[in-house]
């Protein structure tokens, strides 16, 4: 789940990449948004960057940095690195040459996906605007997920559910707090037993603190986005590459499926950068070390509430 910054639409960058990747790999997609015509949003999905044969070969060999010493300036990419699960690369290349097996894509945000890809049957869209209950979304999600139950022996077909701004004021069911959290609980259980992933963004500031916490607890993985201003001299001094940065992505928690051990990341805050306005890059943000003491916790160290006194990096 992704906590939106209501001042900026950067969560859409994540959704576009998530959805585009699904479309490119012909994975079933269910998209819901508080728009009159959610299907029109598909026109904003970015096309993969056309890669040369050299790039493809290099990627198949496991990454840019190793072999020829040329440093990769890609940083982190939003991708599921399935590559490592295919044992013998030679086999997988031979079998899947036609299927464009590469799972990790760079997307060109200035270029829309080809139209014919968007007309596929496995792409469903649903509007959450002007509907006064979540029944329809729940039923459609249930039907979508039941088509993708997990099978023994595994299957490579994964379903994707993308829900934009689930609690936005434009949604007809806005204000029905218990209904919304009930829907989330139900969706979580359905997704868990299926071969699908759901990404839900939400403008958390319209929720009460109490319900915001309920939503946060329900998330397996919880992210938040904060926009940064265009011209901040202090930040420009602190951060390299500030000109390309549009915001920060913070990882509050990571899914612990089948495990009780928390996932500790080396860095939990990333900068969202738009390279040449066309590719989205996440880069680890190195902050000055926090003064650690083993005293009692002041609580709320992961608080999502915006603080008027805190620094821009504090969120």
């Amino acid at each position: 789940m992704v906590m939106e910054d209501s001042d900026a639409p950067h969560h859409l960058l994540l959704l576009r990449a998530f959805m585009a990747q699904g479309v490119v790999h012909k994975q079933p997609l269910l998209f819901a948004a508080p728009m009159k015509e959610p299907r029109s949003f598909l026109g904003a999905l970015p096309a993969p960057v056309a890669s040369s044969k050299e790039d493809a070969r290099q990627r198949a060999m496991g990454g840019g940095a190793a072999g020829d010493g040329r440093a990769s300036d890609e940083g982190l990419r939003i991708a599921w690195q399935y590559r490592k699960y295919f044992g013998d690369e030679r086999n997988s290349n031979a079998e899947h040459r036609d299927n464009k097996q590469e799972f990790s894509h760079d997307f060109d945000l200035r270029k829309p996906l080809e139209r014919h890809l968007l007309n596929a049957q496995h792409i469903e869209c649903l509007s959450t605007q002007d509907v006064d209950t979540l029944h329809d979304l729940q039923n459609r999600s249930s039907a979508f997920l039941s088509k993708h139950q997990r099978k023994e022996g595994g299957n490579l077909s994964a379903g994707r559910i993308a829900i934009q701004s689930l609690c936005a004021p434009q949604c007809g069911y806005f204000g029905k707090d218990w209904d919304m959290v009930s829907f989330l609980r139900s969706l979580k259980a359905m997704v868990r037993s299926s071969n699908a992933v759901a990404i839900i963004t939400f403008p958390y500031t319209v929720l009460s603190d109490s319900f915001c916490k309920r939503w946060q607890h329900l998330a397996d993985t919880l992210l938040s986005i904060k926009a940064i201003p265009d011209e901040d001299k202090d930040l420009a001094k602190l951060l390299t590459g500030y000109q390309d940065m549009v915001g920060f992505l913070h990882v509050h928690k990571v899914a612990q499926t089948n495990s009780q051990v928390p996932v500790i990341l080396e860095a939990s805050t990333f900068s969202l950068k738009l390279r040449k306005r066309r590719s989205l890059v996440l880069e680890r943000l190195n902050q000055a070390p926090v003064d650690g003491s083993s005293g009692p916790s002041s609580g709320g160290s992961g608080s999502c509430s915006s603080s008027t006194q805190g620094s821009q990096l504090d969120f």
Partner: protein
Amino acid sequence: PPPQLEAEMEEYGAGDLLSEAMCAGARVVVVEDCVEAPAAFVLHLLLKRALAAGGGGGGGAALLALAQPFSHYDRVLRKMGCNLSMHRKSERLHFFDLQGFPGGTQGGAIADSLAQLYSAVQRVVETCRAGENAGRFTVMIDDVSLLEVAANGSADDVLDFLHYCVTLTSEMNCSLVVLIHEDIYSSEDGVGLLAHLRYIADLVIKAAPLSTGLATDVHGQLSVVNKGMLIEQRPAKGQKVWSFHFKVKENGADFFYPGSRH
């Protein structure tokens, strides 16, 4: 103690700070956590101990699971050396899959569904007590905040259900362990679910983050408050409040005082 005895002690829960802190005979245990410091691991530990074959009598447990499917608990506890599938088959563990609870039509009253659930739990407890299994029985709820969502916000109905479960603890020699997300209620006015639970608890175990956040060697701090009476209505002996750090591992958890880790 020699390594083998230490391993045994660890397996049955003796000898760590949490067991020391938990007074024997606590009937109602409330575990509190927050987004930054989840405490499901405490439930897993207590479940493992509840099912452990210590003392010859053997234990039994009923897990009312709203948060996760059985497969999750099975895999987690397996890594801790406890085979839930086996316990479920031998009916030492009664697993209630409540991910879809109450299910059915929206029209049905939640009070009825909760009453039915309580009857089912009561039957299980009675059956266990009647059998040769004279050991302690534990009813565990993961978690109460989700039960409130299932009840569509009716905290009164959830409280009624919990009070019935509490009566089981005195009538049937069993204990009740519940997990609740404390940060959901901290902004609320008035006396809600959390306040009620704290009131009826014999023991409150609360997980909180450190001010420095998550680190690889310390995941948070646990405070244990012994507030209740033992059987015979005598006040709980020993130290009332304990506070220490914890680190969660796949096979359990380490508890230690700050600065004492080697």
